[in-house]
């Protein structure tokens, strides 16, 4: 067995969308995979498929990462099983639709626990070992929303993703040359269950096709980006263009665009 074959990648939110595709890409590249999410049946099915398709080992951990002790439980389990996690994909996430002040705080807080706190904690727990082994790959799935002004419904989400971009950039620099790579992945609109989960599928399907990417491509590019040690990777030409515009257009123009976008696409609530 080569060393490469013993490497494990742990992917959160591996039961659907981008996370599921990340698991495929890592397996395809010879990593064994630990799949983490709440829907265990889905994870098991996918794990079996990965084993037969790529001949890798898999392990499934059912976890709700919004819960306070979940990260430690996941870490303890991989430790107990003796799995050396060489790659970590912090992908689990969702948006809370509607106006910021329209949603219950509990809902917002849960999303912070999942997309900020759990990411920090899992990174903390696994990064120390990666540094010891002089090999590590960490992908934090952020979003284009981190790089552009947010429309309504993206207010907290954009801030959470901006956190992840900055967190990744800093850890990238902190670990440069240590064998540990850290990348923030910034997809734009991606076909997954994301927009079903937040119930805006219909509005979203009005957006033109060229704005959309498929989760497989997003995951493949993410894999390549972290292997190449890119601190921030924006998926696709259209999204790169949007990110570029957000950096260079006058703020007043961007504001006007965003306000229009908010009114058009988002459900209007009080």
């Amino acid at each position: 067995m080569t060393e490469r074959e013993q490497r494990w990648a742990l992917i959160t939110g591996a039961s659907a969308g981008i996370g599921e595709e990340c698991a495929n890409v890592f397996a395809q590249n010879g990593f064994n995979v630990v799949l983490v999410a709440r829907r265990e049946d889905r994870l098991r099915k996918h794990a079996n498929w990965l084993e037969s398709k790529y001949g890798v080992e898999t392990h499934v951990i059912q976890a709700d990462l919004e819960k306070a002790d979940a990260c430690h439980a996941v870490f303890d389990e991989t430790e107990r099983m003796g799995l050396e996690i060489s790659a970590l994909v912090n992908n689990a996430g969702y948006g809370v639709p509607g106006h910021f002040s329209a949603s219950e705080w509990a809902h917002h807080e849960a999303s912070i626990e999942l997309m900020v706190t759990a990411v920090c904690r899992l990174t903390y727990l696994y990064l120390a070992k990666m540094k010891e082994h002089h090999y590590g790959r960490i992908i934090n799935v952020a979003s284009l929303a981190a790089l552009v002004p947010g429309s309504a419904g993206h207010t907290l989400y954009g801030a959470q993703k901006a956190f992840l971009v900055k967190f990744s950039q800093s850890l990238w620099a902190e670990n440069y040359g240590s064998g540990v790579h850290v990348s923030a992945l910034c997809p734009g609109f991606t076909y997954s269950e994301f927009h079903d989960v937040i119930g805006v599928r219909e509005q979203m399907s009005e957006l033109p096709k060229f704005m959309w990417m498929d989760a497989k491509t997003v995951a493949e590019q993410g894999f390549q980006a972290v292997m190449d040690n890119k601190p921030v990777y924006v998926n696709g030409r259209w999204n790169k263009f949007v990110a570029w515009m957000a950096r260079h257009l006058p703020p007043s123009l961007i504001e006007a665009i965003i306000r229009r976008q908010s009114a058009k696409v988002r459900r209007q609530e009080v």
Binding site: H99, F100, S101, W105, H108, E109, I112, V116, T117, C120, R121, T123, Y124, L127, A128, K131, A146, P149, G150, S151, A152, H154, T155, L156, G158, A159, Q160, K161, A162, F163, L164, V165, K166, F167, Q169, S170, L171, W172, A173, E174, Y176, G177, P231, V232, E255, I258, R259, S262
Partner: protein, 273 residues
């Protein structure tokens, strides 16, 4: 008396027991605001409260809470609601730093940092926004940092990310609620002469930095209040930092990254942590 009460203006300042927060409280009191003073150290808050009432004839309310604890923000909100205090100006300022590399820090300190710098900021906005929206008027100042704007160095991986969160949240809230009479500003201090560096174990790191890079807390408070009044979502200190941000912002990303890596190398060479 009754008409006075109707015109009562209240501000709430977190981290009012020291540094930039105290400066905010003083500035707002001088402008005629009543102030809710929030931090852990009650004695200091009581002292400041008495001083401000004396000097400016305003009212104060002291709320001694530890914002790193779950439930603290709700308790704070209940306390102001119970007194029928309508917050017109919210200043999220409480914060602290941690030194060392990311994996050398304590997980508990990191958890507290996320609570104070991320969760508290978002939640106090969530708690006080509906009232502001209903009244059609509100001002929110979130104290971020240049660390949220510029590439960060070792020891700031979590802190810088938290401050980026604050900046983005402020910008997005400004966009979402600007047309409802709510102005939101992230003010980004650079090095500021406060008590920040003792607890963060950073006194040695900053002691040789020249005067040009330092602000007084009073300047930061004035900067924040002026920017939020003018409806600017982002405020950087004039002079060195504004120029620095502009220049670095013009550089390609790879140059920025190269600079940070260089800096980290020297930092980890000369630095005990």
């Amino acid at each position: 008396m009754n008409t006075d009460q109707a015109r009562e203006r209240w501000a709430l300042v977190t981290g009012a027991s020291a540094g930039i927060g105290t400066a905010f409280a003083r500035d707002l009191a001088a402008r005629g605001f009543n102030v809710v003073l929030v931090a852990r150290r009650a004695e200091r808050l009581n002292q400041l409260g008495a001083e401000l009432e004396d000097q400016h004839g305003i009212k104060t309310l002291v709320a001694a809470v530890d914002l790193s604890q779950g439930g603290a923000r709700e308790r704070l909100f209940k306390a102001t609601e119970a007194q029928n205090i309508q917050i017109e100006m919210l200043v999220n300022n409480a914060g602290f730093g941690i030194d060392k590399g990311y994996t050398e820090q304590e997980l508990d300190d990191q958890a507290a940092m996320l609570q104070v710098l991320v969760t508290t900021v978002a939640q106090t906005c969530r708690l006080y926004l509906p009232g502001m929206v209903a009244r059609g008027h509100g001002r929110i100042i979130n104290v971020a940092s240049m660390a949220g704007v510029m590439p960060t160095i070792i020891g700031q991986s979590l802190y810088g990310a938290c401050k980026s969160f604050v900046i983005k949240l402020s910008e997005n809230l400004h966009l979402e609620y600007g047309d409802k009479g709510i102005n939101v500003t992230a003010v980004c201090p650079g090095l500021t002469r406060t008590e920040f560096f003792g607890p963060a174990n950073m006194e040695d790191d900053v002691k040789d930095v020249g005067d040009f890079a330092w602000s007084e807390p009073e300047e930061i408070a004035a900067l924040g209040i002026e920017a939020v009044t003018a409806g600017e979502p982002l405020a950087l200190p004039k002079g060195f930092y504004r120029t620095y941000a502009r220049i670095v912002g013009l550089l390609p990303r790879w140059v920025q990254y190269w600079m940070v890596r260089k800096f980290n190398k020297t930092a980890s060479g000369t630095n005990p942590h």
